[in-house]
Subunit: 581 residues, 2 copies
């Protein structure tokens, strides 16, 4: 196998086209080995094998610098830059992350997992090179799906004025995570259909030179194109048309399903995970489908990750115009929701906690200053959520809960979640965000409130004394366990409180606690800094009440085991008990 | 005068072209009256008089809905919708804000002061109309400068697929706040020069229909164009070429200076404000100019507001390639800075606290996960900063200081500010943000540290006992006054501490304070929620130390008097003294 001898990109430069084609097949077998056993980004990586080989064949990494957007297509690059064991040798799967990572290799320049950032980051490398008298090509790689993101469009617009070597490689597989949305995709189509020749050209309209490669999986054609632009003295877009999932039939046929895939049988593509049990994606989708069918003014909005709340292709089709996927355009999604709410509609925008980070200003300015009653559904907002450094869901409480006018709700179980969501959709006074629970679908047969208009009223779920446990959202169950432990160990039952509202204090209740409690414990599923517990600590700052805040340290975690993190942050009931007694 | 009889837009529909032209002149006299005495957005408003008249002449507001981007061009709209007194009658200047405002009029749909939002917000109005069976035109108005912003580009891209009535009016005066930057502006130029006919067309490339009006200050031409697109059944861009500052010679000649202007003599244009004294804009510019001249790797980056840190046109020219204005593209600016820092450059990106809100995700993902040593200079981050609801600088502490890896510094005087800035530029380890002081240029002859690499070390500036005052940044001077008052009134001097670091606790010092102090007072120039003081309160949560946190309530202030806000938040030394003794 050729791949066995490739330890750095220079090792491929001696191969001829036939050998490179053979290498591509070997690389796909490595991808298949890892992805079938471990899961990961499938379609974009299978489609970008030839382009990566051609890049490393023509350019000279790391002197020439490749910046991968969102890293969905960086696996072949990892294989060719000394990390092939992580694909061919199962014991080494853990050696690499799913994203480019400067700690792994000098061929990686940024740790990237959010979309639409490559052009801007690469502009920085080019600008520094030009100022400081450096040399080498800078190549930003970006998929067509990422082009709709504001940061990418800002970067492309800016790059046109760099006035020096800069290459934007647009990997166009006619697909975002799901299908693309937005007017620019008609232009990409027109460019593909005219062999890059149609006069109206988005990239030229943004001031860039342009080159088209019709078959982006043809190594020879790619090498020829890259040779043309190597050492070019101005910015240029190289637009290549690749096949998402290329070389694995199920992935070519079902491109959305195979964008990212769980482990599967490599012979058939059949998933190894049986599913089973309830999940909040399907439950949320079922609820919203019913709601939309009953009320024309309800609109579900997603931003390129519709299936995360259960909206598979058939569901999207079924609900028609009341479902809007904006593509990768989270800022737009929040402003759109604000506009819909202003006009009397009932919008629900759902995405991951980590992607809401794109919308701080839109939440503040477009939505909350205007007090429009839109609903934001915050997914995987939890230590139990996604575990990669670029996708952590543990920062949304400080980010969002300190924005004035926003009502941010944390349900403690399934029934409460849907009651809060339903209230939010039907009320017409507040911008509301709801954290989708993330610690498994916990049911409760206790009555839940259907009305949350009287803000910041906490619920005492167990009246006790001595210690009051204020347990927010997903960590309510830790609060329950802690309450049980305290009762067992001390013989005195503590008070247990479900605060429900992240965005405000129940001052009356906190005052009343003083009478029969000397200790307050707060629990929250997110970092402590800027979060919920600190507000309680400030409230009691000048009182005799002892306040212990539990949550996570402010840090970037990466590929962690939840249990380790919980222990590290003293979040087990036993640890907490030891701290306070 | 015609304007006297115009109390709602219907009143202009009976006028003929000559009368409308006369009306335009009257409107300009009203603009001149208000702006010469009170200041405000001059150039964009003077350029958009005819277009606003034509809009209200052809369309039927509020059934037809106009959404103004950033509101820089909404004054004529205010005059024609019942608010003319605020321009012609000096006593009524205070009746209106400088921005569109639904509380003022049913003709305003959003409170908007950040750029690039109109298209997305208007998309929401159109979407709701279509779903709920409404009618009427939706018109999003956007200046050419705002087009480079990611949210605008996301919105334009999305709007192409609305499939129903939607009109984007591009007010192209060939100018952002300063000059435009980005490749798309070459396309706007080509469109202007070809009378809208050049084949390569940004808007068409994003899927939109297109109509060009060569003279955007010609009422008849505008009326004709708007009649063509009224009740159109699909999205279209109407691109009009207007003259920024039209009708006031100094403003036409010096377009950047007259984008926004302080009060002036309407006869000559000469400013009434004498200037005088030092300001941090000029000081920062002087410092950076010197720094850049001495070191080719230092780069100053701004995003459309270069003069806010003193970079007037001549300074920008003088420094050449080491100065980068990215235009309205804050997200790109932060990612660019990260890329420059990664490649060994020393980037400094400066903008307003309120505009950094656009970059939460870029600070977190592009910059801090990658630990690249870029410097962010946070301007008008203070209750003493800008007073409009859309431009408040009191949220950056919770927004930024809870992002892992960021070092956020709060200087207490001029010398400390430049020492921190210089350290930040020269170090190569941390992403650093520095708050530019905003409470006047306070000098100190006490020695300042030049080295901040040992993070989170607070400085005791006065050793005392009993009470410890931890006074952050701009509020350090309140801390000094409070310390004096306590000494005077109690005979015991308190300890005064300059914490310097917003992003971490000096745990050793906080521990040591326990020995001789029973009260800690924290002071910070921003909202308390999610801020600095709450972290101190959490630290001492289970101790006997009494903690009093002072700062601002979490709320959206609007057009406030600083003194009132300080009193309302118990921020005078006298009030604080009464609270703690």
């Amino acid at each position: 196998m050729y791949i066995e001898k490739i330890n750095s990109p220079t090792d491929i430069k001696a191969l001829d086209t036939e050998q490179l084609t053979e290498l591509a097949a070997e690389i796909r077998s490595g991808l298949l080995n890892r992805l079938s056993k471990r899961g990961g980004h499938f379609g974009p990586n299978f489609g970008f094998v030839e382009a990566t080989i051609a890049l490393h064949y023509v350019f000279d990494s790391p002197r020439d610098k490749f910046v991968f957007d969102v890293s969905h297509q960086c696996y072949t690059h990892k294989m060719l830059t000394g990390r092939k064991d992580a694909f061919f040798n199962d014991e080494h799967f853990g050696d690499i992350s799913g994203y480019t990572n400067p700690e792994e290799s000098e061929h990686d320049f940024f740790n990237v997992g959010h979309t639409s950032t490559s052009v801007s980051l690469a502009c920085g490398l080019a600008k520094a090179r030009d100022l400081m008298g450096g040399s080498g090509n800078v190549v930003a790689i970006i998929g067509d799906g990422s082009l709709s993101g504001g940061e990418a469009l800002e970067g492309i617009d800016f790059s046109a004025e760099l006035g020096s070597n800069f290459i934007i490689l647009v990997n166009d597989n006619d697909m975002s995570i799901a299908e693309n949305h937005g007017g620019l995709y008609a232009n990409l189509k027109a460019l593909r259909e005219s062999d890059g020749k149609c006069e109206c050209n988005l990239f030229k309209a943004m001031g860039l030179d342009y080159l088209y490669v019709a078959d982006g999986n043809d190594i020879s054609a790619l090498i020829e194109a890259f040779r043309k632009v190597r050492d070019i003295d101005h910015p240029i877009v190289v637009h290549i048309n690749t096949v998402k999932g290329k070389g694995f039939e199920p992935a070519e046929l079902h491109r959305e399903e195979w964008h990212w895939h769980m482990p599967f049988d490599p012979a058939t593509g059949k998933g190894l995970w049986e599913g089973g049990g309830e999940d909040y994606g399907s439950l949320t989708c079922d609820y919203l489908m019913k709601k939309m069918k009953a009320d024309r003014s309800v609109v579900t909005i997603t931003a390129a990750v519709p299936t995360n709340i259960g909206f598979t292709e058939d569901k999207r089709r079924e609900v028609g115009a009341q479902f809007v996927d904006v593509g990768i355009a989270e800022e737009h999604a929040v402003a759109l929701a604000s506009g819909i709410a202003k006009a009397g509609g009932k919008p629900v925008f759902a995405t991951h906690s980590s992607f809401f980070q794109r919308t701080y200003d839109q939440i503040s300015q477009d939505l909350c200053i205007n007090s429009n009653p839109a609903t934001l559904l915050v997914n995987t907002a939890s230590v139990y959520g996604m575990h990669d450094i670029t996708h952590l869901g543990i920062y949304d409480i400080p980010m969002m809960s300190n924005i004035p006018n926003l009502v941010y709700l944390a349900p403690t179980n399934c029934e409460e979640y849907f009651a809060m969501l339903d209230w939010s959709i039907e009320q017409d006074k507040y911008p509301v965000a709801v954290r989708i629970p993330c610690n498994g679908v916990v049911h409760s047969d206790k009555p839940v409130d259907n009305e949350y208009s009287e803000l910041n009223k906490y619920r005492i779920t167990q009246q006790g004394r001595g210690v009051a446990i204020i347990a927010l959202g997903d960590f309510y169950q830790i609060g329950e366990e802690l309450a049980k432990l305290i009762t067992e160990k001390t013989g005195t039952a503590p008070t247990l409180i479900n605060p429900r509202y992240i965005t405000g204090l129940d001052v009356d209740m906190l005052e009343q606690l003083k009478a029969e409690h000397s200790v307050v414990v707060t629990l929250e599923d997110g970092i402590l800094n800027g979060g919920f517990g600190e507000k309680i600590a400030r409230f009691y700052g000048a009182d005799d009440m002892k306040v212990y805040c539990y949550g996570l340290k402010k840090e970037f975690l990466d590929r962690y085991a939840v249990e380790d993190v919980l222990i590290d942050n003293h979040l087990t009931p036993g640890q907490i008990f030891s701290d306070i007694f």
